[in-house]
Amino acid sequence: MPRRPIHIKPKLEYLAILDGSGTVDEALDPRLDADKSLYLYRLMLLSRRLDERCINMQRQGRIGTYGPCRGQEAAHCASVIAMEPEDWVVHAFREPGSFIHRGWPIERVLQFWGGYEEGCSPPEGGRELPIAVPIATQMPHAMGLAWGMKLRDDKHAVLCYGGDGATSEGDFHESLNFAGVYRLPVVFLIQNNQWAISIPIEKQTASETLAQKSLAYGFDGIQVDGNDPLAVYAITKEAVEKAKRDGGPTLIEAVTYRLSVHTTADDPTKYRAQAEVDKWEKLDPIPRYQKYLVRRGVLNEKLIGEIEADVSAEVTAAIQRFESAREVDPLDCFAYMYAEPAPELLEQREEFRAALQREGIGKGH
């Protein structure tokens, strides 16, 4: 009846490939080809510029509250590009680059934060779930999608985003547990941006890492430098390939930082020091990746300028499309409630229609 250590099978690792100064570990570099490298750079930049414009638009009253992703571009853009089109991507709410990569028109992002359900409507055939505001509630859906793949013997996988706050929710733990029990092809990617509004990570959990939470559910966890696009890409790719080989789920903790506000309704000076933000600014994923690409000869000054102009024009065009399609019919509240609405609902719809008519309210309100 000895007292002895228990050795468990799942493993916990840390991965970084490209550091803040742009120095790369050549042996680990996934060596994305020039096209894909530039594509990722552009996607990250597009997310950043869209983010900045959204904050301005909120300040001007052109959209509602916005939750920015500044600083987290590598964590979501470099992971989503590791997925194949037939895979599914399940979102939280700080991954605009993922929607863009998966073919959602950019104005969908603006529509969501601008107060239009249209922002949650995927394009035809879309295998992405829309933004989920209630924390961690999207994770069981990712688990369920992966369960469907497994039951149907489809060799696809699911990528599911969440934040550090989500790891305290029951839905996170229940999803990981089911995924472990059924060995489901799902990759949970936690963007640990250090803050859940005002609650720092050390008040969110007593665990040394978030990645280790997978160990309790019987599968591997990996902590990755979430501001390192090469590491995020490499590890997501590896986890997805493992999932498709029936190797089961993976929990990735992408260690990153929310450089901006929680949402535009938030004032972070109330709970965190500027010195901390300054420290993380130096670890910003975009300049880091830019330096690396310049060193590799993939990017140069001229190209940087061209991409910048191109991205800016793309965002501007999306804003124009968003703002020119603001007229919606309030009666649409009834249009998608059920496949076939019951008489009681149609009656209310008529009541609403009559009220709108009386009050002279139509499209555009």
Partner: protein
């Protein structure tokens, strides 16, 4: 045709659904090897295998949230919550996602899924095993909420719920599970969601109920007919959301008098909604105030007090007599 109780009829519906549509999967705690704590899933694991009839870990939120993912993937999940008293651990999924997906994706992703749960009192069960909370779900936009009352309509309603394009909360009145048998046809039957049934025609008063309370309601009708020579009309709602306003209004317009019976608490209950609709539509047809015989706005008692607590035929008949005498 075979005589069977409600448990066997529900089992037959699940068997039909699994056989007819390979997208149908059942998931829940103890539904496989153990065949369900009430044996509703008897033999189904043996017949269809563990890819169709799935025992899950003990987590209501992941059962319902997982079913959302399965439905999004194109399957037709039928999730079992072992007792409705434990559904609150999944209610956030129902309110935040199950009820909303079609609308928020502008019709791109509907969720054809069923959440089955045994409800109601009367079986001497432990705490949290006897509540009736259909009103909470009926209050949630985006759901269908149904409750059968007999073996035959249980089978037909469940089959309809499984082929329905929107999420259905399927309450099973467990007091009826093995209470009586009824002829159930061999061929699959479907019963539209949102349609009430007039199960007894009459001219003097309308009794409206559903689920397990249909038995006490019918018994009260017999009592009133035999001892008071009253012509009683009885409506079985079957669907709490949507509510069949037309059938309710038609009956009460004819009789002018109405008693509504349910197990769930009175305040903001299904009865309150029925009263509102009658008053809105046909106030001038009413000959007397409407009465509600329901669970009280108390906790459902532990089982030592449940027989005394549950609405019964005497109380229904008593209320009906007062309404008739008004």
């Amino acid at each position: 045709m075979a005589q069977m109780h409600m448990v066997a009829a529900l089992n037959k519906a699940l068997d039909d659904a699994l056989r007819m549509d390979d997208r149908v999967v059942l998931l829940g705690q103890d539904i496989g090897v153990d065949e369900g704590v009430f044996r509703v899933t008897a033999d189904l694991l043996k017949r269809y295998g563990e890819k169709r009839v799935i025992d899950t870990p003990l987590a209501e939120g992941a059962i319902v949230g997982g079913a959302v993912g399965l439905a999004l993937y194109g399957l037709r999940p039928v999730a079992e919550i072992q007792f409705s008293g434990f559904d609150y651990q999944a209610f956030h999924q129902v309110e935040e996602h199950v009820s909303r997906y079609r609308n928020r994706t502008r019709g791109r992703f509907g969720l054809p899924m069923v959440i089955r749960m045994p409800c109601g009192g009367g079986i001497r069960a432990v705490e949290h095993h006897s509540e009736s909370r259909e009103a909470i779900y009926a209050h949630t936009p985006g759901l269908r909420v149904v409750m059968p009352s007999t073996p035959r309509n249980a089978r037909a309603l469940l089959l309809e719920s499984i082929r329905h394009e929107d999420p259905v909360i399927f309450f099973e009145p467990k007091q009826v599970y093995r209470a009586f048998r009824e002829e159930v046809p061999d061929e699959p039957e479907f019963m539209p969601i949102g349609k009430a049934q007039v199960v007894r025609s009459g001219a003097d008063i309308t009794l409206i109920s559903y689920g397990a309370m249909m038995r006490a309601t019918l018994e009260a009708g017999d009592l009133l007919a035999e001892t008071d020579h009253v012509s009683v009309e009885t409506v079985d709602l079957l669907s709490m959301a949507p509510l069949d306003t037309e059938s309710i209004v038609q009956s009460v317009a004819k009789t002018g008098r109405c008693v509504i019976i349910h197990e769930g608490p009175r305040r903001c209950g299904i009865g309150a909604e029925i009263v509102a609709r009658i008053v809105e539509k046909i106030l001038d047809h009413l000959e007397a105030p409407i009465r509600r015989i329901t669970g009280y706005d108390t906790q459902f008692p532990y089982f030592a007090r449940e027989r005394a607590y549950l609405p019964n035929a005497d109380r229904i008949a008593h209320a009906a007599r007062e309404v008739l005498a008004f």
